[in-house]
């Protein structure tokens, strides 16, 4: 398994990118040359120099420091969101597929209703009602995405539960819980890990996207999407202010996508 990961260039690049972003976030206080919030209007739009390696923005804040701290926001928001979604999706998806019947039908109807709304509509409405802020952003992203996770897990379990080894497990005296947790879950886990790691990429894009639209986090917060938002006015005069956070978002999303796709190739049981 480890060897396969090391011999897969996608996996190596993906892991490296994720590791770099994680390190940026964790080590931000030590690596950042300045306070990311410190405003110094006399130093606005500085060219890159020794003191400010990536220059400063329209309020004289250190761009490098803001980028480093930005990793904390992207991952710090995306990971708890993913954890919630994975928990809700796996639990409800497995229950629906296993028990079927009226519960499954009701859930399918609820899922279809939620899926009929574009996520943007849900997020706009929610943030309009409960206001801006990190917690509200988390809540609204969870609310707009949970049905997709339920549906995916449900379909994986439905495929798995008709296989012969499940019948064999019943004959071996396994109870329903035994089968769900010790047979079905280990067998769909690789598929779920792939879905979750590509899911985290889209969550990061959502967080940045909503911040860019001014829905998520305020402009003072060094989140990459919010940085894009405030830099867009200076697109012609200072294009690098857009390029830096944009590149960060691109690399993070690409890292998780590459990692997820490589995992799918490695974990598919046929090739074992």
């Amino acid at each position: 398994m480890r060897n396969k990961l090391l011999h897969n260039p996608q996996a190596v690049i993906g892991t490296l990118l994720i590791a770099i972003i994680l390190l940026m976030g964790v080590l931000a206080p030590f690596l950042a040359p300045h306070d990311p919030m410190a405003v110094d209007i006399t130093k606005k739009f500085l060219e890159p120099c020794n003191e400010y390696p990536f220059g400063t923005d329209q309020l004289g804040r250190c761009v490098l420091s803001r980028l480093l701290y930005g990793a904390r926001y992207s991952l710090g928001l995306a990971l708890p969101i993913l954890a919630f979604l994975a928990l809700i999706g796996t639990t409800l998806g497995m229950l629906c597929a296993w028990f079927g019947g009226i519960f499954d039908r009701l859930m399918t109807i609820v899922c279809d209703i939620f899926m009929a709304f574009p996520p943007l509509v849900i997020v706009l409405t929610l943030i309009g009602v409960i206001g801006q802020g990190a917690v509200n952003l988390i809540l609204s992203i969870i609310l707009s995405m949970w049905v997709w996770f339920v549906k995916v897990v449900r379909s994986y379990v439905l495929i798995e539960k008709d296989k012969d080894y499940i019948t064999a497990a019943k004959i071996s005296g396994c109870s329903g819980a035994d089968i769900l947790f010790s047979h079905i879950l280990p067998n769909i886990l690789p598929l779920l890990v792939v879905y979750f790691s590509t899911g985290i990429a889209s969550i990061i894009l959502m967080i940045s996207g909503y911040s860019f639209l001014g829905l998520g986090l305020g402009n003072d917060i060094p989140e990459w999407g919010a940085m894009l938002n405030s830099a867009k006015q200076y697109l012609y005069s200072n294009p690098m202010l857009i390029v830096y956070p944009g590149t960060c978002i691109l690399l993070t999303a690409a890292g998780f996508n590459l990692f997820g796709e490589a995992l799918r190739d490695i974990l598919s049981p046929e090739e074992e």
Partner: protein, 261 residues
């Protein structure tokens, strides 16, 4: 030991949901099986053999009728009792590769029924697994492998070992050897005959192959379109089959020498 009374199973056809007429897979089947006896059930594909096997193994509830194990209707048992009943009645499925969890090592697959249905210590469990492994003529080194690393013959031996480890009173083999090539098939059948002698279990071989049935058992049921059309208690050759459908089955066999027991 086990008695089947008026067992019926119907399915609602999915292809034509409008038709109210359900498809009858097993139709009013009655028979009884004695302790420590080999039986065979012959029928073509779609005759309801597998459905019957699933009902006997308490995986699929019958639409009508009852299955009595020592006089108790198994489908009247509580779910937990039904689960524990698998210690007495085991089923070996046709597709042995599919019947093994692809993410489990062989040891775990064989030990699972022991863990769920018998209360053994770690040592007793290991002892039982090694013992049954030698009885199905497999080497110790496969225990740590995954199902996909075994040959078809090894996989079906593992499935047999998993069922026999419990020393059940009734074992149903649903086309368990039909996927194997002829030489391997013969070896597995001989192995099963020996195992049956040793464990004194009742075996029910479900097969489409009249030669296999004759080789494995004296008492043969012939099934057609969900019904048992003929039951022969002392079958030794083709001449013992009398029902027109049984004759048809025999006449459609390709010319070859039957197994000589």
């Amino acid at each position: 030991m086990i008695e089947v009374r008026h067992l019926t199973r119907t399915y609602l056809s999915r292809r034509s949901p409008k038709s109210k007429e359900p498809f009858v897979s097993v139709n009013d089947v009655s028979f009884s099986l004695l302790e420590n006896t080999p039986y065979a059930l012959v029928g073509e594909s779609g005759s309801g053999k597998s459905t019957l096997a699933m009902m006997l193994a308490a995986i699929l509830p019958p639409t009508n009728g009852e299955i009595l194990l020592d006089g108790n209707n198994i489908w009247a048992l509580s779910p937990k009792e039904l689960r524990l009943m698998h210690g007495e009645v085991q089923l070996v499925l046709q597709n042995s590769q599919g019947a093994l969890d692809p993410r489990r090592r062989i040891y775990e697959s064989i030990a699972e029924p022991l863990r769920k249905l018998r209360h053994l210590t770690r040592q007793e469990e290991q002892h039982t697994v090694h013992d049954i492994l030698h009885k199905v003529q497999l080497q110790d080194d496969i225990l740590m492998r995954f199902p996909s690393e075994l040959s078809g013959g090894q996989q079906s031996r593992v499935c047999i070992a998993r069922a026999m480890a419990l020393a059940p009173r009734l074992v149903i083999f649903d086309e368990s050897v039909s996927g194997l090539d002829v030489t391997v098939q013969k070896k597995v059948l001989d192995l099963l005959l020996n195992l049956r002698q040793e464990y004194q279990s009742t075996f029910l071989f479900i097969t489409h192959d009249i030669d296999v049935a004759l080789y494995m058992a004296d008492h043969i049921f012939v099934m057609k379109e969900g019904k048992i059309v003929e039951s022969i208690t002392d079958a030794h050759g083709y001449d013992d089959f009398n029902h027109p459908y049984s004759r048809e089955l025999i006449e459609s066999l390709p010319p070859k020498t039957p197994y000589n027991r």
